[in-house]
């Protein structure tokens, strides 16, 4: 069985600020990490490998050359191989172009199962996984919180819903997007880190994946960004502190003062 895990390198948003003049992210000096949800995707793949044995786990990312660091980290956790899609032609991709490009690569690699994170913490659209499934012409199950059963034939999972969860079955191949509840990602191992240091990261460009050029990058991206702005910070607010009980009491008092209660 071959599992492809799609991982995205993102800025550690805990440390990202927005430049109020230009309304763009201040990325200088902000460390890059693997999108946290994608760590859960890697862990899910590794657990399936441990369970079924005969499984190859491939980590795939599309990004600038430095996204190689994210792939090495994935190897140090235990994935078997790593591929980097990197090419000027991919620059400016929106989610449609991103998922087209990734799906071309996945088609090329071959797959039985594709696992993605629920969403990226920077882009936040949660579109790439399901869009890829469309391009690959396979079913997808989003928001997977547990894998109940898996064989080379099919899979049964729990899909997180607002209240409770659904149990969903699908034949392979299928694409999953996973939520945090599914597992606790492992830390890297020493042997993994040593392997990662030496590992060769294969790089793919648009010619390696037989992609149609007009579907790539800016040209292939129908989304147009009209304006990016940070919502103005409102100053007329009041914060309550203390225990929850004290906070509620203070809030009720305040609402009474405002004649809302």
């Amino acid at each position: 069985m071959r599992i492809v895990v799609c991982i995205k390198q993102v800025p550690d948003t805990a440390e990202v600020r927005i430049n109020p003049e230009t309304n763009t992210l201040v990325r200088d000096g902000v460390p890059s990490i693997i999108n946290p949800y994608d760590l859960h995707a890697i862990e899910a793949a590794l657990q399936i490998k441990e369970k079924l044995g005969d499984v190859t786990v491939t980590a795939l990312t599309m990004g600038p050359p430095q996204a190689e660091d994210a792939l090495r980290e994935a190897i140090s956790m235990g994935v078997d191989e790593a591929l980097l899609l990197t090419d000027r032609a991919f620059a400016g991709s929106d989610t449609l172009a991103t998922s087209y490009t990734l799906s071309r690569a996945i088609q090329k690699i071959g797959f039985d199962l594709v696992i993605c994170g629920k969403q990226a913490i920077d882009g936040d659209t949660a579109q790439v996984g399901p869009e890829m499934a469309e391009f690959l012409n396979i079913p997808h199950i989003a928001y997977v919180k547990a894998i109940e059963e898996i064989s080379t034939q099919g899979i049964r999972v729990q899909r997180l819903m607002e209240e409770g969860y659904d149990i969903v079955e699908a034949p392979l191949p299928v694409l999953l997007t996973v939520v945090r509840e599914i597992n606790e990602p492992r830390l890297p191992s020493l042997k993994g880190k040593m392997r990662a240091k030496k590992a060769e990261i294969k790089k793919l460009t648009h010619t390696d994946i037989d992609a149609e050029e007009d579907k790539l990058g800016l040209t292939g991206s129908p989304t147009a960004v009209k304006n990016i702005f940070a919502p103005e910070a409102r100053k007329d607010r009041k914060m309550f502190s203390g225990s929850p009980a004290e906070q509620v009491a203070a809030l009720v008092e305040e609402l009474k003062n405002l004649k809302c209660l």
Partner: protein, 386 residues
Amino acid sequence: MDYFLTEEQQMIRDLARQIAEEKVVPVRAELDEKEEFPTEIMKVLAQSDMFGIFIPEEYGGLGMGAMELCLAVEELSRACLGVSTSYAANALGTYPLLLFGTEEQKKKYLPDIAAGNKFVAFALTEANAGSDAAGIQTTATKDGDYYILNGTKQWITNAGEADIYTVIAITDRSKGARGASAFVVEKGTPGFSFGKKEKKMGIRASVTRELIFEDCRIPKENLIGREGMGFIVAMRTLDQSRIGVGAQGVGVAQGAYEEAVKFARQRVQFGKPVISFQAVQHMLADMATEIEAARALVYSVARYIDSGAKDISKASAMAKVFATDVAMKVTTNAVQVMGGSGYMREYPVEKMMRDAKILQIYEGTNQIQRNVIGQAIIKEAAKMKA
């Protein structure tokens, strides 16, 4: 300070630090309070290959040495000595097999130990034999293809949790110090059980317990080394592992010092952060200086051991004494710098101070270490005259 660590050594230190910060620090107070063995943390350490650091590659380890083990131990100790004691005692229990085991014994046990599938303990001490190890009374009597063990080992770290025990017992009392032998005993062997769990002052995440042998029959293949080599096995094992206790000292001292600095910057009295008072600065200055001196000594000795040096007793005793005395002093002063807050369980330094005390006691008290150093000095002086 830059200790010119290799890339691999940095990797070990960084990963051990990550494990310590992410998996140990959040639970250390609770483990201490509940006197609970850190099963989950041991699993993480296993998955990260931390148990294989000093085991040769041919047995599934990473094939590194004392220096690399010290780096891992130091980082874990910076977070919690209870956790690092459980981890380090595993190495202590493994050394007899590594240093004296037969090829079959190594093949049988080391791969599981390296992978963290099996956990190990070392058993020398008894009620009447602490510093005076020659006073042990546990016996191993040969009976055909078996040895039969009888007796009780006391204060054994990892007892009950470990799967494999390296045990020193008397095989021929008439031969005195040459009458002891080392054995490997597996958990679950009939006649082998565990006694009471000790309630301790510190390192409460580690378990300390009795081993009880009542006509416990083990195959003769479980003898480590030759009959009569028991104390040689024990002493070589302790010489090899003692540096790890030094690394524990450096780690816990570093952890306490960092807490003290952090606190002293924040705590305001007389209108100023207390770190601005020279008396406090001087305490911190001494702490930082002594920690660095201890670390330099521990790393030098670890590298000396890894160079394959034969005569390591004196050097390893020096590193153990110095670094653990520093640990006791620094953790005590960390409490002092933090005043009443330091004494409260809300902050980690009172635990560090309680924990640090054990380092001056186990694997040979610091008095005994000074005896070892003293003996070596006498020997060296005699040689110089000749």
